[in-house]
């Protein structure tokens, strides 16, 4: 799976991501109208929804990298899984931070056991477990295989976690209007929708820019390692 973006193309990707981010900021903060109920606090949604989806995207890439690695045993796929996991942890952690900041003005508390926040917290724990597992196994190929298996199991478990957390959530507290977990795209102001869309693409492009950078870095460290070994003999 060729994701190594040559030097200049990565520059374009970075520049495009930057532009979209700025446009997204403009739309999200200024152009889009405040929400009827939550006022301006609702503008955090333009960050929250895209970063959740990016977190899911990175989990999917870890899964793809892990499967490819186990199947073909190529270092490249392992680097992809590792890079996706590293960036995935960052986005998942940010998602939780946004979620709790959004919760303060809306419900008056920093943390509610809202289905989406709980789910993101569990995702973060799985990611942390993934990175801890990788760092605690010395031998390279063994660490890669172990991480690959955890990547696959983690991904397969997400739908089950998703279901159980949502059922558990609806059991305790039926979703009310004010709750941010109602589907944001029904009866929503068109300007808000476009702001959301722009921010979403900005996040995805930024994610792939970071991923290609981290992936290239991974490849270079690998190259340095093999070169240093060969020179050693």
């Amino acid at each position: 799976m060729q994701t190594t973006v040559p030097k200049n193309r990565r520059g374009y990707l970075g520049a495009l991501a930057l532009i979209l981010v700025i446009v997204g900021l403009y739309w999200g903060l200024i152009h889009a109208p405040p929400d009827a109920y939550q006022g301006n606090a609702q503008r955090i949604m333009y960050l929250h929804i895209p970063s959740i989806l990016t977190a899911y995207l990175s989990f999917f890439l870890v899964f793809v990298g892990s499967c490819l690695y186990l199947w073909k045993r190529e270092k490249r796929d392992d680097i992809l899984a590792y890079s996706a996991a590293e960036i995935g942890v960052l986005f998942t952690a940010l998602t939780i931070v946004e979620g709790s900041i959004w919760g303060k003005p809306t419900w008056g508390v920093w943390w509610t056991w809202d289905a989406r926040l709980t789910l993101t917290a569990i995702l973060l724990l799985i990611f942390v477990g993934y990175l801890m597992l990788r760092s605690l196994i010395e031998e390279e190929s063994r660490a890669a295989s172990a991480a690959a298996i955890l990547g696959i199991i983690g991904f397969l478990d997400i739908p089950l976690i998703h279901m159980s957390v949502y059922w558990w959530r609806t059991l305790h507290q039926p979703p009310s209007i004010l709750r941010p977990d109602k589907a944001p795209w029904d009866n929503i102001h068109p300007a808000m929708l476009t702001a959301l869309a722009i921010n979403f693409f900005a996040f995805v492009l930024l994610y792939f820019y970071l991923l290609s950078l981290r992936f290239r870095l991974g490849e270079m460290t690998e190259e340095i390692k093999t070169r240093r070994m060969d020179r050693g003999r």
């Binding site: 010395e138 031998e139 390279e140 190929s141 240093r228 070994m229 050693g232 003999r233």
Partner: protein, 235 residues
């Protein structure tokens, strides 16, 4: 049992344990694998046994390469290391029963008793393995591999634990294996003993195969090749 190794390399972290090794073993050969500590002898044995996978190159048994699914191929490989591959809390007899069943060899109980007799462990058969000395444990693994009828036998430093009669027992066992057309590879530091036994000698140095010749009398090329490992002189 025919074994071919093509430009085999194995790296641990930043260090090459084995570099571009090529080897062909034909049935009936008894190979001595010599070299200083850390030359990669155990790594090579583990690669031949399929316990670890090579970084580059491949190992083929009877033409079939090792892979995850080649479980049938594994029933022809034996790995003999002093005090290993036996369950400490099972009795000697239970160990043999377990492994013969695992390898799907339906030996009669009499055959197992006879195997124990041959290695002089009859009155220890009901003892836990932990009660046996390391020499006796090694005799038990000889009985084990005798029952499992493997085509390739790999031994890692067998001479360390055996007493006089144990060594004769083992060498008789290995000779019978070679006569049956199996391949034996012995990694050892007891050069004098292992040279008498083997039909071919390999010398490994820093992961590279520096010497590979069949045995002949007198063997001056071997003396020269092995000279730079000996402190000064030596056997």
């Amino acid at each position: 049992m025919q074994l071919t190794v093509r430009d085999l390399s194995k790296a641990y972290g930043l260090r090459w344990a084995l570099r571009d090794l090529n080897l062909d073993l034909v049935p009936g050969e008894c190979v001595a694998l010599l070299g200083p500590n850390g030359a990669g002898k155990t790594t090579l044995l583990k690669l031949l046994a399929g316990l670890i996978y090579p970084t580059r190159g491949d190992v083929r048994l009877n033409g079939a390469p090792f892979s995850r699914t080649s479980t049938e191929l594994r029933s022809t490989i034996g790995f003999l290391t002093p005090g290993e591959h036996l369950y400490e809390n099972l009795t000697a007899r239970e160990n043999l029963d377990f492994f013969t069943a695992l390898y799907n060899k339906n030996h009669s109980s009499a055959a197992i008793v006879r195997a124990l007799e041959e290695v002089e462990l009859t009155d220890w058969s009901r003892e836990y393995l932990s009660a046996l000395s390391s020499g006796m444990k090694f005799r038990l693994s000889i009985a084990k591999w005798q029952l499992l009828e493997v085509g390739l036998l790999l031994l890692d430093e067998p001479y360390g634990v055996l007493d006089g009669s144990g060594i004769n027992l083992m060498e008789a066992f290995l000779k019978s294996q070679c006569e049956k057309g199996n391949v034996v590879v012995i990694a050892s530091h007891h050069i004098s003993r292992v040279l008498q036994l083997c039909t071919r000698a390999l010398i490994l140095h820093q992961g590279k195969l520096t010497f590979d010749e069949p045995r002949r009398q007198p063997w001056d090329s071997f003396e020269r090749a092995f000279a730079d490992f000996l402190p000064h002189g030596g056997p």
